[in-house]
């Protein structure tokens, strides 16, 4: 909307020959990925496959090893319009004992658009209320976030991203350990966002109730893209809505394409 370069090209995220390593260990090798405006792309993969690293590198949270990343047609290191990106982390930051209300957390989402030096105005307040309405939590605006359930906290983080009125939403395993009611509220909010022309890039452990929304899946295995195309068919009871998993993150990646489909043995409550 404000970047003339992006008006000409349709590309929202462009990753070319990306390689990323931590402490000498290669996590991603030669990954290329293209997300166009209006796409809804799910990145799937086993724990340790590198799927989270991929989106964290796109966002600039993990330093780029080799390769190139363009955001809205601009090289990542020169990209300044971060208000166009709404990031939804896996969970509420470590936080602390200092209480914060749902409204205060969601208001952080306005900073990218408003800048550090300006005080919040009526427009910011309206955007916060609108975002909370979209995830069905407006009645909790004055409550401390710590009094919310895990699913409601996750919805708060979506609202924070939506409050900035981004063009691209990036979500990191948004439905990990989230109850069915929240998953639905969540899927509805994402569907509305995509319906309004928004672009979505999300890391998922399983497609679950978001499946109808996903246009394309990318399966990351062992640091490479092992599959890219239409969402795989649901298999077995894991694909049933409401089936929840919380997985430990120490799993070794196993040599198969669809290892991202969780197994009962790793379910951890």
């Amino acid at each position: 909307m404000s970047e003339p370069a992006s008006e000409s090209s349709n590309s929202v995220v462009e990753v070319r020959n990306l390689a990323v390593g931590y402490d000498g260990r290669e996590v991603l090798r030669d990954v290329s990925l293209s997300v166009a405006a209006g796409d809804v792309v799910a990145v799937l993969g086993a724990n340790g496959s590198g799927k989270s690293t991929l989106i964290r590198t796109i966002l600039g949270l993990v330093p780029l090893g080799r390769g190139e990343i363009d955001l809205f047609g601009v090289a990542q290191r020169r990209f300044r319009h971060w208000e166009r990106i709404g990031y939804v982390p896996q969970r509420l930051g470590a936080g602390s004992g200092v209480p914060a209300t749902v409204g205060e957390v969601v208001a952080s989402g306005r900073l990218a658009r408003r800048g550090v030096f300006r005080f919040p105005g009526p427009k910011d307040k309206a955007a916060v209320r609108e975002a909370l309405t979209a995830v069905g939590l407006l009645d909790r605006i004055g409550d401390p976030v710590t009094t919310l359930s895990g699913g409601q906290q996750q919805r708060t983080l979506i609202a924070r991203a939506l409050a900035g009125q981004p063009d691209l939403l990036v979500l990191d395993e948004p439905n990990a350990g989230v109850d069915a009611a929240s998953q639905e509220a969540f899927a509805a909010a994402l569907t509305r966002f995509a319906g309004a022309g928004g672009t979505i890039l999300l890391v998922l452990h399983e497609l679950g109730p978001l499946r109808p929304l996903i246009g394309r899946t990318v399966v990351v295995h062992d640091g490479r893209i092992a599959y890219e195309g239409a969402p795989p068919e649901p298999a077995g009871h894991h694909a049933e809505p409401g089936h929840e998993h919380v997985h430990p993150h120490a799993d070794e990646a196993k040599p198969a394409i669809c290892e991202w489909a969780p197994t009962e043995g790793t379910k951890a409550y």
């Binding site: 200092v98 900073l111 895990g150």
Partner: protein, 289 residues
């Protein structure tokens, strides 16, 4: 209170009120970030600055501000770089700071445990008119920065990665926090002393959050508790001839006990009256507070 007619008492009181207001306004961000002890460490480093000032015959407040700011920026750079060796590096910096301070104070003409004690634990007698002007100016600057940048600093301390993806100047804000910590430590050393200054940043926040629901209300109440503890503490210590820093900190701790007990009672009372919360969802993610 005819003590208040004494000019040095007036200066001590005004300085304490400024610090009582500014220290919790900064401290809330440090608590939110789980850096509650950082003020203590910077206080150790500032002591080297005091020693340098005494040795060279300059006002120790100026040299302490400088040395503490350099130390705080160093701490921030270590913290930013990684976690593995950071803990040890911080420990060395802090002990180096206090050892250097004790050594330099000992070398100076003002040697003697008396002058060292004044800086470590505060004193009513040491705030000169020049000090007061400096404390007022720097205190106002700290307070203004903490209030003006509250949304950005809140976002940063609440979720640094999110702040980064929002395009906030994360590094600049981190350095701002580091430098304002150093400044607050140094201006508070006259009244509460370097070893207790951290308490005035942290304890009012801990007290406030027992009874508040949001960040903004916690900040407001913490500043109120801080300014009350500082003001009453100075008056009490003058009347009872106790150490001002210790008196202020014990008052703040009393406020903490009061709000902790009051908050627990209020919650129990509320839980008893309200219908059990409509539990539609299991608590699948437990926040470790």
């Amino acid at each position: 209170m005819d003590l208040l007619t004494l000019p040095f008492m007036q200066r001590a009181l005004v300085a304490a009120l400024i610090i009582g207001l500014a220290a919790p306004a900064l401290g809330i961000y440090l608590v939110q970030r789980r850096l509650s002890l950082i003020g203590d460490g910077i206080g150790h480093v500032a002591l080297t600055g005091v020693g340098l000032g005494l040795l060279t015959g300059n006002d120790p407040v100026y040299s302490a501000v400088l040395v503490a700011a350099v130390g705080a920026v160093g701490v921030e750079l270590i913290r930013e770089r990684g976690r593995t060796s950071g803990d040890l590096a911080l420990a060395m910096l802090f002990y180096g700071g206090i050892a250097g301070g004790v050594l330099l104070v000992g070398l100076s003409d003002n040697a003697g445990s008396n002058s060292l004690m004044q800086y470590l634990f505060g004193s009513l007698l040491t705030t000169s008119p020049g000090d007061l002007a400096l404390i007022g100016g720097l205190g106002a600057a700290v307070l203004a920065a903490m209030l003006v940048f509250r949304p950005a600093l809140f976002a940063l301390c609440n979720d640094e990665e999110y702040a980064r993806v929002s395009g906030l100047p994360v590094r600049t804000l981190n350095l701002l926090l580091a430098v304002t910590t150093a400044v607050t430590v140094t201006i508070a050393m006259r009244t509460v002393g370097l070893l207790l200054v951290s308490a005035l940043m942290v304890v009012p926040v801990a007290a406030a959050q027992q009874v508040t629901r949001g960040f903004r209300s916690t900040m407001t109440l913490a500043m109120l508790i801080g300014v009350l503890a500082a003001g009453v503490g100075i008056l009490l210590s003058a009347e009872a001839n106790t150490a001002p820093g210790a008196t202020i900190v014990l008052l703040a701790l009393t406020a903490f006990v009061a709000t902790a007990v009051g908050g627990a009672l209020a919650r129990r009372f509320r839980r008893g009256r309200e219908r059990p919360p409509a539990a539609t969802e299991p608590p699948d993610v437990v926040l470790h507070v």
